[in-house]
Symmetry: C2
């Protein structure tokens, strides 16, 4: 059994976590600037940073001349030493594992894919152990300085206890995945819902840097959402949050697999979308790729179905923005979701603008293609974030 945590020695106080996180996510940055942005005193910043420098996590860059206001006084920015520690992130899908090895800044250095032999827990763990071992073996320093593994999986995942409460795609219920994966790999393991993991990656290393309120919306088989409010990923009192796919924008119809009616996902999820294109074009054997192609080729019946999906997603995004007012919404998705985005986008943006309330319409909507490797990077980011965040009591 590995240790349950290998928290870095310098992480001794909230101030230490704040200073390190700022350099990690926004560095290189001078002590003066850190003090300004965090409200800590210069002395407190220096005190917090020193042990991280001694432990090799941070380094002092050569003094540079200020060129902005107050120019002339030399500043020695603090920077991350990204090769100080490595992390593995794995996205578990229903038919395969996608793994990445990253540095401390979640930059992807190595990747690997592995099909799943089957979906039984022990079988997945064996595949996982082989994938992880293969990635760590690629360079000696990975073996030496990689101790943390993040796993992301769709469904109801309890980050705190390491339990997969329910994974519909794999058919898992109440699987203590973090414990099992730690035993199988010898690493310290963090698990998270895949959308929340991707949201955390954007928050620390992507489109959410410096934003206290932002959202991520994923389009694909499901329509998912991660929310960051006041700098924290929203979890909800019962572990349910971000279920934008089940906002009822469609009135009484259609029925959704969740038991509700008119859910976005029952209109714009890949399955219902394909069914609607098949029905509209009278081509019952059509694949999703063919449906997308038909719409791109100008088939008005297919185009109409995609526009309706864009309308539904735009309504749900407006509902979300009206409730919590994000500064930015990042829209992404799986392969089919991304391929269809061009067909949805115009109507999505138009509907969002029409339904967003007052200043909420000022929210920026950006599309960012995210491959499975980005999702695996999200899992690594969760491992990084967990390691450098002090738990609140």
């Amino acid at each position: 059994m590995p240790a349950l945590t290998r928290r870095p020695e310098p992480l001794t106080s909230p101030a230490a976590a704040t200073v390190f996180t700022m350099v990690l996510t926004q560095g290189p940055v001078s002590r003066v600037e850190i003090a300004k942005r965090t409200g800590l005193s210069s002395a407190a910043v220096t005190k917090a940073a020193r042990p991280f420098i001694e432990a090799g996590y941070l380094e002092e860059m050569e003094a540079t001349e200020h060129t902005g206001p107050g120019a002339g006084r030399p500043a020695s920015p603090l920077a991350i030493r990204p090769e100080r520690e490595y992390f593995i992130g794995v996205k578990i899908t229903d038919d395969g594992l996608i793994g990445v090895l990253t540095d401390l800044r979640a930059q992807v250095l190595e990747t690997d894919h592995r099909p799943l032999a089957d979906a039984r827990v022990e079988s997945v763990l064996a595949d996982l152990a082989a994938l992880v071992a293969g990635l760590r073996a690629r360079r000696p320093e990975y073996g030496e300085r990689c101790h943390h593994l993040g796993l992301s999986i769709s469904g109801d995942v309890d980050h705190d206890t390491g339990m997969v409460r329910y994974s519909p795609f794999l058919g898992w219920r109440q699987v203590p995945l973090a414990t099992y994966a730690a035993q199988a790999t010898g690493l310290v393991v963090t698990i998270e819902n895949d959308v929340k993991a991707l949201t955390a990656a954007e928050q620390w290393f992507g489109e959410g840097i410096g934003l206290s309120h932002f959202a991520l919306v994923t389009i694909g088989i499901g329509i998912g959402c991660g929310l960051v409010i006041d700098g924290r990923v929203v979890v909800g009192a019962h572990g349910v949050a971000g279920e934008i796919g089940h906002i009822p924008v469609g009135g009484e119809a259609p029925p959704c697999h969740c038991g509700g009616h008119g859910c976005v996902e029952a209109i714009a999820g890949t399955g219902p979308l394909l069914a609607a294109v098949r029905a509209a074009t009278n081509r019952p054997g059509m694949t999703i790729d063919e449906a997308i192609q038909a719409a791109h080729d100008g088939d008005e019946r297919a185009r109409e179905v995609f526009a309706r999906a864009g309308h539904a997603i735009g309504l749900a995004m407006a509902a979300m923005a009206n409730l919590f007012g994000p500064a930015r919404i990042v829209v992404t998705g799986d392969v089919a979701g991304l391929a269809s985005y061009g067909l949805l986008e115009g109507q999505l943006r138009q509907t969002f603008a029409g339904q967003a309330f007052g200043a909420a319409a000022g929210c920026e909507v950006v599309l960012r293609p995210r491959t499975f490797e980005h999702w695996a990077r999200g899992a690594a980011a969760i491992a990084i974030k967990t390691l450098f965040t002090l738990r609140e009591r």
Copy 2:
């Protein structure tokens, strides 16, 4: 000009704010219990509490015997001295002022109502000054120990700058109300959107005590919502949040005053609701009271309209719960909203339960009648909360 703040001397650190807030909202409570709930050391709790005791805000109760586990060791719980300071809260409506004077725990001790002569800013300020002076004159100690006034008003209110950006009912735009009211009354003034103020009052002194995730939904002319996530009232990046009234649950129709379509408010707000009952019953001169009465008397056409409104509100509440996962939703409203609640409730609960996703359906929905005086108390609560919260940098 009054001082911009009269923050109590003992409020010197985050720990001091945490300890005082816990006694204020959950006391009487022993130091041991405070340490347990906050994660602070016993020494830190004692150090933080002492200056509040010396300044008369807290007192030590007589030692009691524990009766639970660890019984036998005497504990001296800390309690608030509620009469240490008084607060005035005023809800400003389009035709009147509702004022309350409260103690430190937001208990209402005095009330007063005053019709507005007209909606001009200077006229409202004159009425406000008279109302405040009258409340403070009722007892000598109010004059001596009441320095803070909270104002709540519907619309777009910037708590931080004290600016009413837009009040649709009063026709105000960009009114620096906090500054003007401070000049008019001689008190330190805090202002807030009325729904957010009521939410804050529930958070500290009502149904939200001890809950990190909860929501307040108000039914009336508008359909409003206040959200508390991770213990904080959600404000949004652009100042817009909680606009549950503009979640599009009604499809393409009806059009809403906000420019959107199918908004909850365009179905279940008092105006559209009355219009629908008038149309259904063919009684164009009907008042809202008569509409409610007709439904209570068994007019099926009227009852159907109310059930439809309950359905729309239930859908919107489910959307909100699916996104944020509150532990509890408090439903309240203005006079007409409350009177009609009995007509909405059955359908509202049924729809909510059907549309809430998975564990989000575990969210408790409670009705709490709140009069205008409760709303005024919300304004006082904002003044209290502002006084005892250290601003984050």
